[in-house]
Amino acid sequence: MVSVTLDRLTKSFSRSGVVVDQMNLRVEEGEFFTLLGPSGCGKSTTLRMIAGFEEPDSCQIRFNDRDVTYAPASKRDVGLVFQNYALFPHMSVAKNVGFGLAVRKIRGSAAAERIREALAQVSLTQQADARVDELSGGQQQRVALARALVYRPQLLLLDEPMSNLDAKLRLDTRAALRTLHEETGITSIYVTHDQAEALAMSTRVAVMNTAEVHQVGTPAEVYERPSTRFVATFLGRNNIYDGVVTTVDGDMVQVRLPDGTTIEVSASRTSPGLPLAPGSAVGASIRAEAVHIASQGDSQNVVSGTVTDVEFVGATLSCQLETPIGSLLLDLIGAGIRPTRGNRLSVLLSSASIYFVPVEPTP
């Protein structure tokens, strides 16, 4: 297994400009590392540079201490799983899986044994002789996975492997992929725009936007302690209100919002490097699921508003409120009440649930 180091990785295309800008990343041995970001943020290009299909403008890519920046794709010993599976349609399932073995001069019974093992790992033993186009999308993706793992590469790269699967299959494949990673311990780099996948599977996540890495951390870190405003808005459903710090009293920070409402926030809940002195501008973010209906006794951090939209989405009831501090999203989970449009609600923005993020840079 290898660690992967990207040192000031930069790539630009003549048509779309800079797609990856001065990116530094280190993926540790055996990690399941995810590049998460909206489409066009440069995550796939980064993966393709690691795989050897794009040449970076400048930088160094290292597998352990070996510099592979200009090594051809065929010499990097990686397994690659594509969004569109990229199975060879003129070969049977077993032939597809055996392709990488044949390249490595592993033939005959040794190869057959390895192919059987790999197909068993993805529970496709029955389909070994089937034609590729006889399989369902989920099965094809598992063949692609078996094909990429059978020759035991030192690094597994996955480029949005689940985006063509339906929701249910995606959950199954997600679990299968996680198990497979635990069993093999192979260093894996996973590219996705789906935050649920990223959070559920990764050891660490790098959140990217417009050619830059915004934050690298464990799923819990990036979700609970977003270091930039983009990360806060991209992951989950978040409410962000810009305001000005009025007083800092020990752990308690008072923030005045533009409409005059003052809310209290715990000082420990802030992004590193964000100044919290009286007069500094901050964004107070609170997740939709952290907003609760206010109880009788609450007075601090309570806002009232009118329900403008209600969406029943199964596990939760997603509501939108129009309040003095602005529009507010809240997710009610199993709460006894079923608000309807036009109801008035008082909600509590608990000081322990609010997190400071930088204010929106003024253009």
Binding site: R76, N84, R147
Partner: protein, 342 residues
């Protein structure tokens, strides 16, 4: 033919018409009409003449159609000339498939895989020979490559060889006409396959450690087989039916020439026998290819995310490919230019 507004039905104050389910004839009218036209045309122009020809081949008389006898068929298969013509036609067609296949596939790969200045122009030019008029086209070939051919004179001057040693006659002449007029069938099918081929398959091959050579042999070329087979079918059938090329290059050892010779000898029955045999060989070939196609159709796997083909960007490589592709394309349309010049 009314679909029927029979009993008006009252609903509140509004009157609604009640519609019955249309009759089967009405529901299937489009299918029935199309099928009728198709069958009439097919029977009149294709099946009818074929049946008439087959019927005449069984006649007891050389000129008129009467009685039934297999006697003439027996003579046909015993005749050395006729047997040789069958072998000649099939051999010529197979050779044409091979040469046109190599040229067409090569040109298709060259023009669809790499980008170079003038590529679009070449792609259009490469299709032109398909529009080459039969008689004029072959005549142009004869002037270019045949006895006293201009190509050989030009080459002779450049390389100092005697032109008469390289004049293309008989089979070689017919073959070059076939190759250079029929290759667009391969060119069309193969370049369509190249254009729609999925780059990620190549990338998958490289990522698994395969070299360029292995990727070409095991991934790219096998993916082209259905296109090549389709091209082979068209090439084989049109070579079998080719008439003017053997005529102008005086190559009589093919079935089409024998049909005309028998006809001018007044043996309509023999002409019918040869024609029937020729049709049967073509149909047999079609059936074989069809059964192959049934078994091996590569449906496109990719959903979404198909990547744009990477094109050659290094200026030197672009020039090198242009230097190969442009003269080759011009050479291919030379007979067309010849017709225009004449």
């Amino acid at each position: 033919m009314t679909t029927g507004t029979t009993t008006p039905c009252e609903s509140g104050d509004t009157m609604y018409a009640v519609y019955k389910r249309p009759s089967l004839f009405r529901r299937r009218f489009n299918v029935i009409a199309t099928l009728t036209v198709l069958l009439v045309v097919l029977f009149w122009y294709v099946i009818g003449p074929m049946i008439a020809t087959a019927r005449r081949s069984l006649s007891t008389d050389r000129i008129n159609t009467m009685g039934v006898s297999f006697h003439a068929w027996g003579e046909f298969f015993l005749s050395d000339t006729q047997r040789s013509a069958i072998v000649g036609s099939v051999t010529l067609s197979i050779l044409s498939v091979i040469t046109a296949g190599l040229l067409g596939t090569g040109v298709a790969i060259l023009l669809s895989r790499w980008d170079f200045p003038g590529r679009r122009f070449c792609q259009i030019l490469a299709l032109l020979p398909i529009a080459s008029p039969p008689l004029m086209g072959v005549w142009a070939f004869k002037l270019l490559f045949g006895v006293g051919g201009r190509i050989q004179f030009a080459l002779g001057e450049w390389f100092g060889v005697a032109p008469k040693d390289f004049w293309l006659q008989g089979l070689a002449g017919v073959l070059i006409v076939h190759t250079m007029t029929i290759y667009p069938y391969f060119y069309l099918t193969v370049s369509a396959a190249m254009m729609s081929s999925d780059v990620s398959l190549e990338e998958a091959s490289y990522s698994m450690g395969a070299s360029k050579v292995r990727t070409w042999l095991r991934v790219i070329l096998p993916m082209l087989t259905p296109a090549v087979v389709a091209g082979a079918l068209l090439t084989f059938m049109s070579s079998m039916a080719s008439y003017t090329a053997p005529l102008l290059f005086q190559y009589t050892n093919v079935m089409t020439q024998q049909i005309v010779i028998s006809k001018s000898n007044g043996d309509m029955r023999l002409a019918s026998i040869i024609a029937t045999t020729l049709a049967m060989i073509s149909i047999l070939f079609l059936a074989v290819i069809r059964s192959y196609e049934q078994r091996k159709i590569y449906r496109t796997q990719s959903k979404g995310g198909g990547r744009q083909r990477s094109t050659v960007t290094s200026p030197l490589a672009r020039i090198v490919i242009a230097v190969i592709a442009i003269p080759l394309t011009l050479f291919l349309v030379l007979p067309i230019i010849m017709i225009l010049v004449l």
